[in-house]
Symmetry: C2
Subunit: 221 residues, 2 copies
Amino acid sequence: MNRLYHVPLSPFCRKVRLVLAEKRIEVELIEERYWEREADFMRRNPAGKVPVLRMDGRVMSESQAICEYLDEVYPEPRLLPGTPAERCEARRLCFWFDDKFHAEVTSKLLYERVNKKVMGQGYPESRAVKAGSQAIKFHLDYMGWLLDQRRWLAGDVMTLADFAAAAHLSSLDYISDVDWNRNAVVKDWYAKIKSRPAFRNILADQVPGFPPPRHYANLDF
Amino acid sequence: MNRLYHVPLSPFCRKVRLVLAEKRIEVELIEERYWEREADFMRRNPAGKVPVLRMDGRVMSESQAICEYLDEVYPEPRLLPGTPAERCEARRLCFWFDDKFHAEVTSKLLYERVNKKVMGQGYPESRAVKAGSQAIKFHLDYMGWLLDQRRWLAGDVMTLADFAAAAHLSSLDYISDVDWNRNAVVKDWYAKIKSRPAFRNILADQVPGFPPPRHYANLDF
């Protein structure tokens, strides 16, 4: 059986879960308290982080490397588009979310509010939370600007970039940190992606001590 | 003419420069004071960072997306290996250096010692420098462990992972922050990659106010 070592709200794990589900690959989800750096887990990934995917007789880590592998070996449906230039744009946006959005928003909101508590590292730092709440506005505006010109974030077909973005936003939505009223096209885009069957599993996530708000799993939010 | 907007010591720019040179693609290098967020530059890359490559009638950003594009369109020589599993391992290690090594080492040594001064952001924080000097030991040991089993970092052929690693290490070597005596196989690996023609341009870099040490450009270091 395929196994994904993950934590429910990690956007990197969610990206991989969405890709697996979109490609209809079954996987057993195993929650991993990676911050405890248990020896077995560190052998699987010396970087000490999730996601880690055990599949096809291999142990793989780094979400983007895993998603590229899945798209090459299980090409149905393709999540990286057809031409090198289109793939470059899709990958650019994956890194936009996994690097820039992660540093400016996800780490400042989700990690401060949830991860710190779960990992026993104290209370959220209000300066960080404020900075994250400010920065997400710029990112939603940038997404809106892209979506004014394109049907999906990287072009006219859905790509891995949409899953990377939706992975971050869905984790933040779990703690009510996304203002869906800021931009109507972004809300429409999220409604489209949220209603895909691949998203169901993510909408069912529950983190003890952090009940999701009602709108989180609601397709009509 | 192809144009690369860059700064000399950025490991992300160096990775792209190495790939361009390895594929014998000529490019005009333009130094970009990206931290000044000048409007023209922000239009080229709203993420506000280098490298940015203008080529084939396109403007591309994010070093990994650029390198994947170059490898797809100019496949001679291939820098991502033949099978999906091998590519997954090469990409994993690219992210190892560009994410983990960058956060734990490059940002704590190079950015503290050089970037802060160049950008007028004050003095190095000694706690960060200490942490970086400590962390690089673990990374050199991990590289040594990989190279005990493989000829190159990701397997028996040279890949983009070697360039990603060499890009970070060469920038740190410019400020004498790599202890080449720690691990003989890592030193051998660096000597091999440093002596490639693609590396020449990088060994000729000069940053005003930061003269490189003698051994930096020496192939017999």
